[in-house]
């Protein structure tokens, strides 16, 4: 930046001063003379709905949960890192703790042993929270759909806002998905939180049948469990 330029933040295109502005600027520090001021025009106020403002804020600065499951997490790492750099879109701060995260990307196959843990991680995230399902496994179980141990999609366990198909999706696809999520958030949309087929419940609350009777000795009534009715899965 050349030293003779007295107004470092004013570019050629913004040098369209008005009388009002000139008046306002006289005696002001240069640092106030920003692009933002330009956008606001002569008025120091903006008028918007608080909700709308909050939605814009939420979508523009998303903290992602650092959450790796399977193959897709490799492409997710590539999306965070150089070349694709998700941070450009205000969505690239991976947080290791769910308590600090707004968005969880589910990058991989969910199996019976992991679904309760994933549900627990999701529950620990503060509201409002958003979920991106990455890859075919989170849509339907993907190539492993017929597996005896595979949950047929993330939506069986937690609500999903955006599905990104692919096995695995390319980083560009993930970036697109994140951008779409930001659009949704800015519009104030999110998936309704509904009761999912597989919920965590206390063992004692399960309807008693043959399998429950068999397990009664192994599991405490107060233990949280997830019951999989494979026959009902899509």
């Amino acid at each position: 930046m050349s030293s003779d330029n007295q107004q470092p933040f004013v570019t050629d295109s913004s040098k369209v001063g008005t009388a009002t502005r000139e008046a306002r600027l006289s005696g002001q520090d240069n640092r106030f003379n920003s692009r933002l001021r330009e956008a606001f025009g002569s008025s120091p106020f903006i008028l918007t709905k608080f909700d709308k403002f909050m939605n814009w804020v939420r979508g523009s600065s998303m903290f992602m949960l650092q959450f790796g499951i399977a193959c897709c997490s490799i492409e997710m790492m590539h999306t965070y890192a150089v070349k694709h750099d998700l941070d450009r879109f205000g969505a690239g701060v991976p947080r290791a703790s769910p308590r600090q995260a707004d968005v969880i990307i589910i990058p991989g196959t969910i199996v019976s042993k992991f679904a309760p843990r994933m549900k627990r991680v999701y529950d620990q995230m503060p509201e409002p929270k958003f979920v991106i399902g990455m890859g075919s496994c989170t849509i339907s179980g993907g190539p492993f759909q017929e597996g005896y141990n595979v949950v047929k999609g993330a939506e069986e366990v937690i609500p999903v806002d955006i599905h990104i198909p692919g096995c695995p999706p390319r980083p560009e696809a993930l970036v697109y998905g994140v951008a779409k999520l930001q659009e949704r958030i800015a519009n104030g949309e999110s998936s309704p939180v509904t009761v999912k087929p597989y919920e965590l419940e206390e063992f004692g609350d399960l309807e008693r049948d043959e399998i429950i009777d068999q397990l009664a000795e192994e599991i405490d009534v107060e233990d949280l469990v997830m019951r999989y009715n494979w026959a009902d899965s899509p």
């Binding site: 499951i69 290791a96 005896y148 141990n149 063992f203 399998i211 999989y228």
Partner: protein, 552 residues
């Protein structure tokens, strides 16, 4: 565990000599395509394996395959030798259909521990004298054994949350008066490289006891392969075992086994392409291992991790040109590869050469920032020590074994592809610690680069009318009923083996994957007990596991 070997232990063992050695333990013979099979009684497993280990040099229990037949259960112990990989023998142990009990081999080979637990979990064979026969991949409350014949996949299952319920709810002191603390690491934790759960008991900052709990990514790879046809349907799955870009290496494991099983030739030209692709994959996989290791050791997300991703992107671009995909290549076919190098070929060669040319500078950067970094040295030198005898007993292979000074590499010891005709070295380091394993990986990248360069030279000069990428392979492949084979290749993490038993149809009767990470991960308690927690994390990072392959 060190054993005085008799002088003639290195000598080649003919099947007759092995039969003599086993003597009256043998109750029958089988012929597997890769090795002679000896059927022994269920209660003489320890005896037989000990004789083979101590007197015939079969010191590597590569894999334990279990399966259920119409009339019996069966465990197969695939033995080979660290000194001579071509020496193989299969010990077949039948078990009763009604009451499948068989003796555990845990006493002779520590690696049998997890392998037998897996066999119990998925098939339902019980092992006598096993120290800890619990489910390993599936939740403890699972009902039935899913790869057994009578399993009903539609029956409901109940999975508890238990140890993750609320770790902070009550004071986690382990027993009444002890000073120790119980700590869950994972399954959602940045340092576990995926969904691994490690149960640790700590005394202050030191690890008293540590137990990896796996199965959070058990997505039924073996079942998927058993339900797919040999010709085309199985090939996409190997990409998803070791998903750190090591796809072609895994595909080669299946290709090698099935080609040997169905007696399929592979043209020389295709072998060179395979070799080049596989080594590019190995480099990409090792780059990620370096990057995440730095991340584990000193949280270096900004420089080294980014550097390694940068180099991976370069390799992935080359692989994408070659195969059409960034990660899940599905490029090999039985009898060759699916298509030739991309046109214009000159551009592809130039692109690959550019990458190879930049590589020494990049590696120098890595060395500047990692191996010569004092913090990293303090954290890795002499931590996570894995003596070679222990490594062998656990069936460790790949960079983990080579970092313990074991000179073992399937590419050289049981050659396949085009490796024999190329000039490269097997890298070993004698330190047995985390640092050595890191060094082995870094030096292996250089060796892989040498291999790729030679392949490029060969491909460039290959006469245009001899570019044969696939041999004639029938559209459907039906190997003879009850043919059995176990074959391995050198994956990014070590010896990746596959056992296939055909049942006369287009689909395998039993498809068993021997994952190197599964065996390597077993060594973690040996390396970590008594050490500090951060060193345990460093050891885990140096093992470079990938959970997709551990759990399958």
């Amino acid at each position: 565990m060190s054993v005085e070997l008799p002088a003639d232990a290195d000598a080649v063992q003919t099947p007759a000599e092995v039969a003599d050695l086993l003597g009256d333990l043998v109750i029958g013979r089988e012929e597997h395509l890769n090795a002679p099979g000896f059927v022994i009684k269920p209660n003489s497993v320890v005896d037989a394996l000990r004789r083979l280990r101590d007197q015939a040099g079969f010191d590597h229990l590569s894999c334990v395959t279990a399966q259920e037949y119409e009339d019996r259960y069966e465990s197969i112990y695939h033995l080979t030798s660290y000194d001579d990989r071509t020496q193989e023998v299969s010990i077949v142990v039948p078990a009763d259909k009604e009451n499948p009990v068989s003796q555990s081999a845990n006493e002779v080979f520590r690696t049998a521990d997890w392998h037998e637990r897996e066999a119990y979990d998925l098939i339902g064979i019980e092992y006598d004298d096993h120290p800890d026969l619990r489910r390993i991949l599936l939740p403890e409350t699972w009902q039935g054994h899913p790869l057994g014949q009578s399993y009903d996949q539609d029956q409901p299952q109940v999975v508890p949350l238990r140890e993750h319920q609320n770790p902070l709810l009550e004071d986690q002191t382990a027993d009444n008066d002890s000073e120790t603390m119980y700590l869950n690491i994972g399954p959602h934790h940045p340092a576990t490289h995926g969904v691994l759960h490690i149960k640790t008991v700590l005394d202050g900052e030191q690890v008293v006891d540590l137990e990896p709990d796996i199965g959070y990514l058990h997505r039924c790879e073996e079942q998927m392969c058993q339900n797919s046809t040999y010709r085309y349907q199985i090939m996409p799955y190997p990409d998803r075992w070791d998903y750190i870009s090591a796809g072609l290496l895994n595909e080669w494991a299946y290709a090698r086994t099935a080609e040997e099983l169905a007696d399929i030739e592979v043209p020389e030209y295709a072998q060179i392409i395979r070799t080049m692709g596989a080594e590019l994959c190995r480099m990409a996989a090792h780059f990620l291992a370096l990057g995440t290791f730095a991340l584990d050791i000193y949280g270096d997300f900004t420089a080294l991790f980014m550097y390694s991703i940068r180099d991976r992107e370069k390799v992935q671009n080359i692989l994408e040109e070659l195969t059409g995909q960034r990660l899940m290549f599905n490029y090999f076919r039985l009898g060759g590869v699916v298509w030739d190098l991309p046109e214009p070929r000159e551009d592809f060669f130039e692109m690959t050469r550019d990458f190879l040319e930049d590589l020494p500078t990049a590696l120098e950067e890595y060395h500047d920032m990692m191996t010569s970094n004092e913090i990293l040295q303090v954290r890795t030198v002499d931590t996570g020590v894995l003596p070679p005898e222990v490594a062998k007993s656990y069936g460790a292979t790949g960079p983990v074994a080579r970092g313990s000074g074991i000179d073992y590499d399937v590419r050289r010891d049981d050659p396949y592809g085009y490796y024999e005709n190329l000039d490269w070295d097997v890298v070993t380091e004698d330190g047995c610690d985390n640092f050595s394993r890191l060094l082995v990986r870094m030096r292996e990248v250089e060796e892989s680069a040498k291999i790729v360069e030679q392949c490029i030279d060969l491909l460039e000069d290959w006469p245009e009318d001899e570019r044969n990428i696939q041999s004639n392979v029938p559209r459907t492949i039906k190997p003879d009923d009850d043919t059995e084979i176990y074959k391995a290749v050198e994956g990014a993490k070590g010896e990746l083996g596959i056992y296939i038993r055909s049942d006369g149809t287009e689909e395998p009767g039993r498809f068993k994957i021997r994952s190197p990470c599964f065996s390597n991960l077993q060594t973690l308690p040996e390396m970590s007990n008594g050490e500090y927690v951060p060193d345990a994390i460093a050891s885990l990072g140096s093992l470079d596991i990938v959970l997709g392959e551990v759990d399958r």
